[in-house]
């Protein structure tokens, strides 16, 4: 999910070194369908983190979000006043509206830390139906750099249509570095554009 590593890599690594860091985990039974928690996954996470991480959600970036090592292609971060999130990709080296550059953000979310409000993920994953499903998925995205928009465009439009947000139209409602550099400007932009995040429940 971080983009540096795929499920197949994982499986191959496990087959090469069965006692290595990649292990199959039985999901067990689902205990939190909305945010995506399973009892056996939680037990596994607890054990291998030596109690450092107690629970892990598959579908939430607010409650017990997933952790990452630091290799992720993108970081999603909350933009509190907008009620949405911003996503910065690794190639975007400038300041982002949340007040942190990608490098600072990476220091915040990497290293196996659980940091509610932030997750590291791949570009491809943004278009997944499971992407922060608990918080409302891509409806929450209020800011992305133009280069990221461009890169994921095709599938993103399809996914937006699926959600009834209107394809290109929704993409245009999302601010980028040319239209908004600070949180305040993002808020202004999305309010004017009538972005759905403005009328959603607060994220936290």
């Amino acid at each position: 999910m971080c983009g540096a590593y795929s499920w197949l890599d994982c499986r191959a690594a496990y087959e090469i070194t069965p006692s290595g860091p990649n292990q199959p985990i039985a999901k067990g039974s689902c205990i939190e369908p909305k945010i995506g928690q399973w009892d056996k996954i939680n037990a596994f996470v607890q054990q291998v983190s030596r109690g450092g991480v107690q629970r892990m959600s598959q579908y939430s970036m607010i409650t017990d979000p997933m952790t990452s090592c630091g290799c992720f292609e993108c970081i999603a971060a909350v933009l509190p006043s907008t009620g949405g999130i911003m996503i910065a990709n690794r190639e975007f080296a400038e300041m982002t509206p949340c007040g942190m550059k990608f490098s600072t953000l990476a220091g915040t979310v990497g290293g196996g830390q659980q940091t509610p409000g932030f997750i590291g993920h791949s570009k491809h994953y943004i278009n997944s139906r499971k992407f922060i499903a608990a918080e409302g998925g891509i409806r929450r995205i209020v800011w992305m750099p133009t280069m990221l928009k461009e890169e994921i465009k095709d599938n993103f439009i399809k996914r937006a249509q699926e959600l009834g947000l209107g394809g290109e139209e929704f993409l245009a409602k999302i601010a980028d570095e040319t239209t908004a550099a600070t949180e305040e400007q993002v808020l202004e932009f999305i309010t004017r554009a009538g972005h759905p995040a403005t009328s959603m429940e607060p994220m936290f």
Partner: protein
Amino acid sequence: MALTGLEIFKLLPKTNCKKCGMPTCLAFAMQLAQKRAKLEDCPHVSQESKQKLAAAAAPPMRKVVFGRKDAQLTVGQETVMFRHEEKFYNPTVLAVTISDKLSGNDLNSRIKAVNSLQFERVGTKIGVRAIAVTNDSGSPEPFAQVCAQAAKQACPEPGRGGWSRERRANNSPADSSTSLGTSLALILVTESPQAAAAALKQIKDTAGTPLLAAATAKNAEEMAKVAKENGCPLVAKAESIEALADLSEKIKAAGVEDIVLNLSTGSLKEKLYNMTRMRVLSLKKVFRPLGYPTVSFVLGGSPEQQMAEACSLICKYSSIVVVETVEPYAILPMLTCVMNIFTDPQKPVQVEPKVYAIGEPGENSPLMFTTNFSLTYYTVESDVEASRVPSYILVVDTEGTSVLTAYSGDKLNEKTVADAMAKGNVASLVKHRKLIIPGYVAVMSGKLEEATNWEVMVGPRESAMLPKYLKEVWK
């Protein structure tokens, strides 16, 4: 539990006013969560938030300071279960007992024996830091008297060499607060409030802040009163973790906040088990009634037994260990153990960058350089010693990294070597202009010759080959 960045953010004004130096409140909150910023930097945070944040940020284990003004001892405030997670902060204080049944010459020689327990090891002074006067007589007068005399005479002698060859490492595990002062701290071991009060009166002006040991379920209130009046920290002594937690709460309610915990019963195995549980409860569960440093008493048994027991208790997790033996051969291993586990594992151990003379080198002796990572230096040093060729070793400051690491990190290059040569004034030490360099960095020969105008001789790759090299190639 530590708050997450998002939880901290909720307590901030959320105005993005930028006065804290961060572009947004969120960025500031994330910095706070990582302890890279101070809350004071935000001028607008509300009083209520301040309190909430301070409570969450209070260290799970309290810091307790005692001892004389010129040699204060700090214990507690540890943050991790295992050294490799970060580091252990305040080295275990080793104390030796003096019974108040002693008097005259016996007392003098016992104090003298304790005073002499100072050593120098890899360039760092280590030693016993406190005297624990025990109220074996059971009455206040002799106790007060012996305390007074101990307070007056407890003056450690300068370290003795010879236990390990004197070596200079400048990464001392003991920070300045625990560096050797001029006098030892006092621990008053009595469960009689009268004896404690009598002793404290006698030593008021001489002993600084002694540690009072101990309050039990029986005498807690009276002891707390004595401790409070004299402003000294108090040991809480009980037989189980549960009883200890109750007792520390009671003492705290009586107005004494500087508490040290003592688990008084159990075999060594049980003690280790329970001390570990206490540490987990205080650090991981932030259970405040156990969030204090600890003291262990190792009384009785042969010096060897005391040594084994004390070392175990130092490792798991005693802030203070009190022993009976004054045998240097038993004390030194304990001190070494403290030094080992309290050295910061995040910093490589370094030797002072300078010129070291091995044997009695003269103006025609070989000159070679290596880096200031201790392991590297001592390996080279012992190999040069083994060659029996008197030589100079120039140690280049590479921030404690080995030759290849330093080279690849650009900390070992013709400039740093030339600087070190100038600083060490090697041109005046030897007449020749030949410099032997580690074989692994042969590639720097050219540039180094240009930078220094010295002839560069490429030494062996492995220092084990130095004796052969010095005898055959150098000559």
